[in-house]
Symmetry: C2
Subunit: 343 residues, 2 copies
DNA sequence: ATTAAAATTTTGCGCGCGTAAATTAAGGCA
DNA sequence: TGCCTTAATTTACGCGCGCAAAATTTTAAT
């Protein structure tokens, strides 16, 4: 690297023998300058490691290269996983993702969107709280920035939605459970913080009726995000009271199921579909740890990769078209049944 | 809100009847202006929702309000938990934390530090890979920015370190295990990506010798971050071969232990310290899910909260003192023994 | 009331870069 | 070769704000 430290684009332009604005063009899009000047610039970059001042760059730009990514709770492995993939997809596309977790609070979801506002993002990918979100606030936000929702939908908010087809996925599970044993009851939280909970309950009811069975739903008290705790304590109480009236429990998500498995173990109940088992427990989401529960959890795998990639490509598609589509496409990926030992 | 949208600080200063630079001072520190002018500004803020342009602000500032936070892998609940607490502590102190995950790659750790460089952070909190980190690179980085390491130490890098005293915590566990049953062997990865692995092995060896036992170490092949998989597959193989030569296994971290518990379950081994149990398994870290394993995992709890708070306060202390301490304080918090059923 | 000292506000300037308009160079065709 | 079109480059200006120094006000002390 050259000794005389380059302090700004002016100086860098000087050493590369090009005018500053042309250098500016280069940094915005290396292909927008003549091949020969590009070579000169890149030669200079070799010896003089310079990089433009981010703040000065973004100050006057019509459009930054920032992409906001907001998820409800990074501490939940589901969101940390999908957030990671979204992040990498943005980087690959040459953008700077800014990941924000709302830490389980709808209020912080607002704060996060407000913070993003001042970063003038080119677009925003939001996994909202769903019912808990401040819908009007998010709606206002999407007037100002291209917005793609993922994981949880809010009607008519954002220019696109990408997620899992809960009706398909829950039906898949219900069908499997009915075919292979007693019809399942459904275990969930009474006031779920979880965005897709309502859809899954509805899907369970419809699916059970379609299969000619009576849906039975058990709702745990409690709020917050400590699903395993709720599944363990309240699910455990229901188990010990033998309240379910069936030997098969479908949990609204894996984290509840993980808690319930732990309670079942504590009660000495043998969970599984093999001979000599007392009951079956199934989940939904294919949580990273559900492979390692005892027994391993039968569940539905959401297609993280596909959801993340589609959300990103929907957004970038919009950005390139300039015009926001009137259609508001909703893409639903199918869940896959992951058969393990618990059900 | 007033109809005529405020476009910049100039206009906002006009409607509030104060000069622009004074308004600027207010936004940098509301207490630095006279009480009466502060009232005027805040009155104007009520009606004219304005907020300064972040990019213009940071462009000329000697020191931004940005704090970089870099962790090895946000998908690991340990780091997502400690990252969350660091983030909140920074916000409370009036700073803007920027959390970056290196996604398990030392190369991306470099990229992340480079990205931070251009954001001119006031300070950086780094949980490095440890042995895997590009030490020279990090060392260079700490010439330019106040840097506090946490979780994993690198000698003489950064101005302070905060973490857990692995020698104390492992000794605590070894002492407990020896007192209550057979002395433990130690299960870890051969080439651990995990930063504290080497310290823990060393601590195990010393502690066993101090207690008059022969240390026995078993190392699993494989790299990457899929610890549960490695614990399950390789730990399971060792279990089925009865290779350990003791009924008690201390795992280098909870995620390995979770995998091994899963394998033990699959093999029909009863894990626990009660009558009729075949073996004991213990971990380290009090991973969020270790309460819900079967049986619940006996482990060492690191004091997340204390580590996060101390790392942040060390950094802010440095920032206020202006002068970086020559001492490079290293703070080690004690681990707590969490006794559950697995050992 | 007078004045010095301290606190606060204002004046004036420049940061590093984006971008529209003006200029120049490159490429195509007869 | 000359002319024209188009692409590339340069000129000229301004963005929104931080900050040092100057001007002013307030406070404290006599």
């Amino acid at each position: 690297m050259g000794q005389p430290k380059i302090r700004n684009m002016e100086e860098f332009a000087a050493v590369s023998g090009i005018s500053r604005p042309t250098v500016s063009k280069y940094f915005n899009d290396p292909d927008s300058v003549r091949r020969s000047t590009r070579a000169k610039i890149e030669a200079a970059l070799e010896k003089h490691d310079y990089q433009p001042n981010v703040f000065a760059m973004n100050q006057n730009r019509r459009t930054t290269k920032n992409i906001g990514v907001v998820v409800p709770n990074l501490a939940d492995p589901f969101f940390s996983e999908i957030g990671r993939r979204v992040e990498l997809a943005c980087i690959d596309a040459g953008y700077s993702p800014i990941i924000l977790s709302s830490h389980g609070s709808a209020e912080m979801e607002r704060d996060n969107l407000n913070s993003l506002r001042s970063l003038k993002p080119t677009g925003v990918l939001l996994a909202p709280f769903g019912r808990m979100s401040d819908k009007d606030f998010v709606r206002d936000f999407d007037d100002d920035f291209p917005l793609v929702l993922f994981d949880a939908n809010i009607n008519d908010v954002g220019q696109a939605f990408v997620g899992t087809d809960n009706f398909q996925s829950v039906d898949l599970m219900v069908e499997y459970l009915c075919r292979s044993g007693e019809p399942p009851c459904f275990f969930e939280m009474k006031s779920p913080t979880n965005p897709n909970a309502n859809k899954r309950r509805q899907a369970y009811i419809e699916s059970m009726e379609r299969h000619g069975h009576t849906p039975r739903i058990f709702q745990a008290e409690g709020d917050g995000w400590d699903f395993e705790e709720i599944g363990s304590v309240q699910g455990g109480r229901l188990l010990s009271e033998q309240a379910f009236g069936t030997n098969t429990v479908l949990c609204s998500n894996d984290r509840l199921a993980i808690g319930m498995l732990s309670a079942a173990y504590g009660l000495g109940l043998r969970v599984g579909h093999g001979a000599g088992c007392d009951m079956r427990i199934a989940g939904h989401d294919d949580h990273p740890f559900s492979r390692y529960t005892c027994p391993p959890l039968t569940t539905i795998a959401q297609d993280y990769e596909a959801i993340a990639n589609r959300a990103v490509s929907d957004l970038f598609g919009m950005l390139n078209d300039e015009t926001w589509p009137e259609s508001r496409p909703e893409t639903l990926f199918e869940g896959r049944l992951i058969m393990r030992d618990s059900a």
